[in-house]
């Protein structure tokens, strides 16, 4: 399946794009997505390893499986306030 990942802040700057597409096998987890994302976009690595994924605007853990229809985002450590 193809997963679109929204990027923000330093992750977007490092990737040079707001959205990247990642090809994954069906049933993959967010951990698998992280590994693939960093291998296909190595510039993302410094922020990518410290980020959390969100699916449909909720934080998810690396163990969860990816729903193909969810809106997925990479959330770097936040600094609002």
């Amino acid at each position: 399946m193809r997963v679109r990942v929204k990027l923000f802040a330093a992750a977007r700057d490092l990737a040079g794009a707001d959205i990247v597409d990642v090809e994954l096998s069906s049933g993959a987890s967010f951990g698998d997505l992280r590994t693939k994302l960093i291998s296909t976009h190595p510039h993302l690595s410094p922020v990518g390893v410290r980020s959390i994924f969100a699916a449909d605007a909720r934080y998810v853990s690396d163990e969860e499986s990816i729903s193909e229809t969810a809106e997925i985002a990479l959330i770097p450590p936040v600094s609002g306030g």
Binding site: K6, F8, A9, A10, D13, V47, R50, I52, A54, A57, R58, Y59, A73, I75, P76, P77, V78, S79, G80, G81
Partner: protein
């Protein structure tokens, strides 16, 4: 009430809404663009959000605060885009019949906002460089509220 805005935060309106006969205590917190971090000089901050998720997280924060404390008023407003020196990037208002709840709620809200809400700031330093702030060692967002 929660809001993301690209305009200066209207603090007067927030306070006016909070000054109700049922509130005995109102606490306002303002996060302000500070000029110096150690000896590094900031010229301005620039805030970006994953807006749909930030609104959802802010709503959950408001809801959680209202469950934990007897609040008459609870407002969280975060500004996005450029925020010049000495202007507010975030305003939190908690109004309660008694002051301890208003203080506790306001402090919990800003502490938790800073850990959980997908908003990022970019420093623009006086030397012309910019840098996104992604704190190292930050706690994993608490999903319990």
């Amino acid at each position: 009430m929660i809001q993301l805005t690209h305009e200066p935060i209207d603090v007067n309106a927030l306070l006016a809404a909070a000054q109700q006969p049922a509130a005995g205590a109102v606490v306002l917190f303002l996060g302000i663009t500070r000029e110096f971090t150690g000896d590094r000089q900031t010229v301005e901050l620039d805030y970006e959000a994953y807006e749909a998720m930030a609104e959802s997280e802010l709503s959950k924060l408001e809801q959680a605060a209202r469950e934990r404390w007897p609040l008459v008023e609870c407002a969280i407003v975060h500004r996005l885009g450029r925020v010049p020196l000495a202007e507010a990037s975030v305003a939190i208002v908690a109004g309660s019949p008694h002051r301890s709840a208003a203080f506790a709620a306001a402090e919990w809200l800003i502490d938790t906002l800073k850990e959980c809400v997908p908003i990022w700031k970019r420093e623009r330093w006086a030397d012309g460089t910019t840098k996104w702030v992604h704190p190292v060692g930050q706690a994993v967002p608490d999903k319990s509220y």
